[in-house]
Symmetry: C2
Subunit: 138 residues, 2 copies
């Protein structure tokens, strides 16, 4: 199995609330949108972020997803500057992020904060000055 | 906020079990490995999959992640052929996947199955003949 991720899929409870946050709030442009079912955004050259209404997940994966609390994942959006981090966190707040954790210096050498989307999925907004952090910048 | 994901981070309970599965089992090569803390794999040109021990997540994000059951996300690994899908699912089974759901034809036009990693994170292994599915192939 090659070391590749093609789609990252987050299971959401209200796809219209998700659409309002990512499309109306953050200004993202979906590549696919099937109302009430799925919303897909290109987030890297060969990677798509898919927001999938829960019923589809349950039918295909065969399990109800665990709900409530903080999902055990984060997605990160890395930037070159700390000002960029603060700006994106403000944009997320303006878009209606359900929680925003102000950025701070981290012991691993970076500067990062977090916001939560309508289902509580945490996005890290970060400067990571390490080699691997620099390698993901556009 | 640009439409970009830089890191996908899965919060894991036993990083050594995670290492055994992805490195020894699937044969992946980490780009960063801090024993007991984090393991990082390049999974697209500018995207890194990070497996993060729970204590680090709790300290930085400020919440304990929800545990038990099926996490509300999937990662997908897309391939060009149905034989490729079956082969990867067999590799995952041999690597000790905690659950393998055999691939089948899907009503959305594809062919896909699932396996679960040691923390129950579901990987979809798929052929997606649609335009967006073809666009993520190497």
């Amino acid at each position: 199995m090659d070391q590749r991720v093609s789609f990252v899929t987050l299971v959401v409870t209200d796809l219209e609330a998700t659409r309002r946050f990512y499309v109306d709030g953050l200004g993202w442009e979906p590549e696919v949108h099937v109302t009430g079912e799925v919303l897909m955004f290109r987030v890297a050259d060969k990677v798509v972020l898919s927001l999938w209404a829960e019923a589809g997940f349950v039918a295909e994966v065969g399990h109800a997803p665990t709900r409530g609390g903080t999902p055990p994942i984060t997605l990160s959006h890395n930037l070159a500057t700390t000002d960029g981090v603060d700006t994106v966190l403000e944009q997320a707040r303006a878009a209606g992020a359900s929680e925003v954790l102000a950025a701070e210096q981290r012991e691993w050498g970076g500067y990062s904060g977090y916001f939560a989307d309508p289902d509580g999925f945490r996005w890290e907004v970060a400067v990571n000055p390490g080699e691997i952090g620099q390698s993901v910048l556009p």
